[in-house]
């Protein structure tokens, strides 16, 4: 468990946050065109205006549901496929070109193709899945591969049951890799998911609201939605990593 942050540490964090808010305020004053660069105060005002509306919560819930679904599907599929590929070399070799393709094709290409093939309703689910899946797959392969060969040999000699080997040797080896991959994937799933929504503009989504902010040149509202995504992404990341930590014990 991480030690609690000291008051001094918290105070320093607060000062750093204030410094960057000051930089933001100064930049907005320098540009002096709220339509191009909203100030922190304008952004907060826009957020306060949005918060009590039904559309805000429908959009937040819609995006959260789609991106979280895509992430968890990728987590499950990535772990299962990674474990199968670890066990069967042929599968690993078979999947290698597909995974290389998934890693290297630009997200925008995926977004447009999925939009053409499946429409916009589940676009963020599929994009989030496509972005997260390779990270989890490779983390699973590396994690399982890092299990101590001497202990695996010991388990073989003693005829330790497979379930016990998986739980006591492979699981502890896998967890740090999975946790690291999830920490990166969680942020990426939000970035890619919202980007997909901006292009596909599905109903009741943060992406749709951002697109409308752009159409109406409402920069303060665009910033408010961006702030909302940052907060949602941070909450989601903390919650998933906390759950993984619990499961890994």
């Amino acid at each position: 468990m991480k030690p609690a942050k000291s008051p001094r540490h918290l105070f320093r964090g607060l000062l750093i946050a204030l410094f960057w808010l000051g930089v933001w305020q100064a930049a907005s004053m320098l540009v002096a065109k709220p339509v191009l660069f909203a100030s922190p105060l304008d952004t907060v005002k826009a957020l306060v205006r949005l918060l009590p509306t039904k559309d805000f919560w429908l959009s937040v819930l819609g995006s959260f549901r789609r991106i979280a679904l895509g992430f968890f599907l990728a987590l499950i599929l990535g772990m299962l496929t990674g474990a199968a590929a670890f066990r069967f070399r042929l599968l690993r070799e078979l999947l290698s070109p597909l995974l290389t393709l998934m890693k290297s094709v630009p997200v925008a290409s995926f977004i447009i193709l999925i939009l053409v093939w499946f429409g916009s309703a589940n676009l963020a689910v599929i994009v989030s899945l496509i972005i997260v899946f390779p990270l989890i797959y490779f983390a699973t392969l590396s994690g399982l591969g890092s299990a101590d060969p001497e202990l695996l040999e010991l388990a073989k000699v003693y005829h330790v049951p497979g379930k016990r080997v998986i739980w006591q040797l492979y699981r502890p080896a896998l967890w740090p890799y999975l946790r690291g991959a999830c920490a990166s994937a969680l942020g990426m799933s939000w970035k890619a998911g919202v980007a997909a929504e901006v292009i596909g503009t599905p109903a009741h989504s943060i992406g749709e609201q951002m697109y409308l902010s752009k159409i109406y040149m409402d920069t303060a509202e665009l910033f408010a939605w961006t702030l909302t995504v940052i907060v949602l992404s941070a909450i989601f990341e903390r919650a998933v990593l906390w759950l993984l930590g619990k499961a890994g014990k």
């Binding site: 001497e150 202990l151 040999e153 010991l154 000699v157 003693y158 330790v160 016990r164």
Partner: protein
């Protein structure tokens, strides 16, 4: 269960380790294996356990082994009793495992993570684990490394008490310290 090793030949690169080597380990026999370093003691134990395929020759199949390896091979972050329960039993056997270990280690050390134990204590956990496991034959590769003379004797007594009629093959450089015990000594 008698273990027969027949016509065993093995080489590492150019170096010949065994050539047409025969060995019979009688059921319940106590065998000590001694030879200078690099002559193939560990290789022979690995071939017997099925971890290394020999170039030629056969070993009796279907024998269940438990072993003390050259390194302790303990689950990191887990207690001494966990090491025993990994190879046999479950939560319900915890008390029995604790009682078993208490014959070889101080009681307060049994529920400590093994990383906090001394090298000699970790070695004794590995020895206890090999004897706790279900097996027909116990193989030990230099089990007394890091033990002082009195601990060595206590450990040797524990090994003999817990064998329960199983065959024991033990490799060691400390043959002279085991002269009081009725081992059949083999050499390579």
């Amino acid at each position: 269960m008698e273990i027969e090793i027949q016509k065993l030949s093995h080489r590492f690169g150019e170096k010949l380790i065994f050539e047409d080597y025969d060995l019979t380990l009688k059921d319940g026999g106590l065998y000590g294996l001694t030879a200078p370093s690099g002559r193939g003691k560990t290789t022979l134990l690995r071939i017997i356990m099925g971890l290394l395929a020999p170039d030629a020759g056969t070993v009796t199949p279907g024998v269940r082994y438990s072993a003390v390896f050259q390194t302790d091979r303990l689950l990191p972050g887990r207690t001494a009793v966990d090491q025993l329960l990994f190879v046999r039993g479950g939560r319900k056997d915890r008390d029995a495992a604790l009682a078993f270990l208490a014959g070889l280690l101080p009681e307060e050390s049994l529920t400590q993570p093994v990383g906090e134990l001394s090298g000699g204590m970790q070695r004794r956990v590995a020895i206890a684990r090999a004897l706790w496991a279900d097996s027909d034959c116990v193989l030990m590769d230099e089990p007394f490394t890091g033990l002082d003379e009195s601990t060595l004797r206590h450990t040797a007594d524990f090994i003999l008490a817990k064998l329960r009629g199983r065959t024991l093959l033990l490799s060691t450089h400390q043959k002279e310290l085991l002269s009081d015990y009725s081992f059949d000594w083999l050499t390579l």
